[in-house]
C-alpha cells in the first residue's frame, strides 16, 4: 500500500509540475493550449540531446533542456497563441493542435519514432516503512512541493505575480490602468512552458521518451486543471496529488482503469462545480 501511495505522489508531483503551467495559461488567456503536451515531450527529447553536452550530468542537462524551451515557447506564444487572445476557444484548439501535429512530425524527423529509454539518474533506493523506494521519485515529490511554494511566493510577492493575479480576475480592469496585460501573459506562458518541459525532463527516466508522450499527459493535465480550478495554484496542487493518488490506487486494483478513473472523478467534480470558459 505504501508503494501505491509513493507511486501516487510521484505521479501527482509530475502532474502538478506540468499542469500548473497549463492552469495559468488557461486561467489568464482562456486559451486551450494543446501545444503544452508537445513542450513536455520536447523537454524530454532536449534532455536526451543535451545530456552528452552536459557530460551526462543530469541536473545540468535538465537545466539546459528547460532553458532551451524558453525561445521555443516564446515563438509559439508570439506567433500563434498571442493571435488567439479574445477569439473563440475553437480557434485556439485548432491552432494549438496544428502546432502539436507539426511539432510531433519535427520530433520524428529529428529524433526518430522509436521510444528512447533513459535510466534513473540517481540510481539509489531508500528504505522507508519496510519498503524500498527510488530516491529519484522522492526528489520529484519534493521538487513539486518546492515549485508550489515558489509559485505561491512569486504570485504573492512580485509585481508580475500580482498583475497576473489581478488579470486572472479581470483582464480589462488591469488594462484600464495602463498595463499591457499580453506582455505579462507571455511571461506566464514561458514560465508554464518551462515547467511543462521540466515535467518531461523529470518523467523521462520513469517512462520511455517517444513522440506522442505528450498526448496522454496533456489530457490528464486538463483533468487536473478542471478539477483544481483555472489559474488556481493551490487547487491545482491538491488536484494533481489527489488525481495522482486516484490513478495509483485504481491501477493497483484494476490496471486498465487507472487513467479512466481520473476522468470519472473530473466528471463528478464538474457536475458539482461547473466552470465558465
Amino acid at each position: 500500500m505504501i508503494n501505491t501511495i509513493a507511486y501516487g505522489l510521484t505521479i501527482g508531483g509530475i502532474l502538478y509540475i506540468i499542469s500548473i503551467g497549463l492552469s495559468l495559461t488557461f486561467g489568464t488567456m482562456r486559451i486551450v493550449n494543446f501545444a503544452h503536451g508537445l513542450i513536455y515531450a520536447i523537454g524530454a527529447y532536449l534532455l536526451i540531446t543535451l545530456l552528452p553536452v552536459a557530460r551526462n550530468n543530469f541536473i545540468l542537462g535538465a537545466f539546459l533542456a528547460v532553458l532551451a524551451i524558453i525561445p521555443i515557447s516564446y515563438i509559439i506564444e508570439r506567433f500563434v497563441v498571442r493571435k488567439l487572445y479574445g477569439v473563440s476557444i475553437d480557434y485556439a484548439i485548432i491552432a494549438t493542435y496544428a502546432v502539436v501535429l507539426i511539432g510531433v512530425d519535427l520530433i520524428k524527423w529529428i529524433w526518430g519514432s522509436s521510444p528512447i529509454p533513459l535510466s534513473d539518474p540517481v540510481g539509489i533506493d531508500v528504505a522507508f516503512l519496510g519498503i524500498t523506494l527510488p530516491l529519484y521519485r522522492l526528489i520529484i515529490i519534493a521538487l513539486a512541493v518546492i515549485i508550489f511554494i515558489g509559485l505561491a511566493i512569486f504570485f504573492k510577492k512580485t509585481m508580475v505575480g500580482k498583475i497576473v493575479t489581478a488579470a486572472l480576475e479581470d483582464k480589462d480592469a488591469v488594462r484600464s490602468l495602463g498595463i499591457n496585460v499580453d506582455k505579462y501573459f507571455a511571461y506566464i506562458f514561458v514560465i508554464g512552458s518551462c515547467l511543462a518541459a521540466l515535467g518531461g525532463v523529470l518523467y523521462a527516466p520513469i517512462t520511455s521518451v517517444h513522440p506522442y508522450m505528450g498526448s496522454m499527459v496533456l489530457l490528464l493535465s486538463f483533468a487536473v486543471v478542471l478539477v483544481g480550478g483555472l489559474g488556481n495554484i493551490k487547487g491545482t496542487f491538491v488536484a494533481a496529488f489527489a488525481l495522482g493518488m486516484v490513478m495509483s490506487v485504481t491501477g493497483r486494483l484494476w490496471g486498465p482503469a487507472a487513467e479512466t478513473m481520473v476522468f470519472v472523478v473530473m466528471g463528478i467534480v464538474l457536475i458539482f462545480k461547473p466552470i465558465e470558459v
Binding site: M159, K162, E169, R175, L177, G178
Partner: protein, 229 residues
C-alpha cells in the same frame, strides 16, 4: 480636451451607437444619462479603447486615440472606472493601489496618499482583501485607484448604482472633492446626482444623444430631464 465626433459602434452586427458626438472640456464634470440599454456604457467603452468605433473620430488633447489599445489610452491620461465595482478581490486594498501605481511609476506611499486625500477612511482598510469591502468602499477604491498618476480625464460608469442613500453621499463627497481638478465623464441614471454635480448633461436614448443640457435650472428639474428619455 475630449472630442467625440460622429462615432458609430456595434457589437457584431448589432449597431449600438449612432452618430454620437460630445465634448468634455478641461475640469468639466459631464454626465451621460439615459435608460438601460441606451448605449451609455458602450460609449464609455468606445472612448476607453475597449470597443473600436466603426466610423467617426475620438481625439484627446488634440490627438486621435481611436486606434490606440486600451492600455495606451489609459497611459495617455484617460482612466476608465468600470461598472459593477470591479476591484481585484483576491488582492488587498494596498495591492490594488500598487498595481495602479506601477505603470505610472508612482511610489506606493504617494499612491496611498492620493487615495487618502479623497477618502481618509481607506487607511483602515489597506491590508484587507478588497473583496471584503462594502459596495461603497469598493467604488471609492476604484475611483481612488483610477486617480493614481493624476489622469486628466476619468470615465466613470454608474458610480452610485446599487448603493444605499448614505453610501451615495460618500460617493458624492468624493466626486465633489475632485470637481474642477480632473475632468470627468460620468454615466449615471440617478438624475438627482446628475442635477447636483453636472456642468453638462448628454441625454441618451436608443444609441443616440437626444439632447445636450447645459442650463443648470433644467439639470435640476428631474421631470424635465426624464421627459428627454
Amino acid at each position: 480636451m475630449l472630442s467625440v465626433t460622429n462615432i458609430d459602434a456595434s457589437y457584431g452586427h448589432a449597431k449600438v451607437l449612432h452618430d454620437i458626438s460630445l465634448e468634455v472640456n478641461s475640469g468639466e464634470m459631464v454626465f451621460i444619462a439615459g435608460r438601460n440599454g441606451a448605449g451609455k456604457t458602450t460609449l464609455l467603452k468606445s472612448i476607453a479603447g475597449f470597443l473600436k468605433p466603426s466610423t467617426g473620430s475620438i481625439t484627446f488633447d488634440g490627438k486621435s486615440i481611436m486606434e490606440l489599445p486600451a492600455e495606451k489610452i489609459a497611459l495617455s491620461g484617460i482612466r476608465y472606472v468600470f461598472q459593477d465595482k470591479r476591484v481585484f478581490s483576491q488582492l488587498t486594498v494596498k495591492e490594488n493601489l500598487e498595481i495602479a501605481a506601477y505603470p505610472v511609476k508612482v511610489s506606493i506611499a504617494d499612491a496611498i496618499g492620493r487615495v487618502v486625500s479623497i477618502y481618509p477612511k481607506i487607511e483602515k482598510f489597506l491590508n484587507l482583501r478588497a473583496g471584503t469591502l462594502s459596495g461603497g468602499q469598493r467604488q471609492i477604491l476604484l475611483i481612488g485607484r483610477a486617480l493614481i498618476g493624476d489622469p486628466k480625464l476619468l470615465l466613470i460608469d454608474e458610480p452610485t448604482e446599487g448603493l444605499a442613500a448614505g453610501t451615495i453621499n460618500d460617493i458624492l463627497n468624493v466626486l465633489s472633492s475632485m470637481k474642477g481638478k480632473v475632468s470627468m465623464l460620468i454615466v449615471e441614471q440617478n438624475l438627482s446626482v446628475v442635477g447636483m454635480l453636472a456642468d453638462k448633461v448628454y441625454m441618451m436614448k436608443e444609441g443616440k444623444i437626444v439632447q445636450e443640457v447645459t442650463d443648470k435650472a433644467q439639470m435640476n428639474n428631474k421631470i424635465q430631464l426624464e421627459q428627454c428619455l
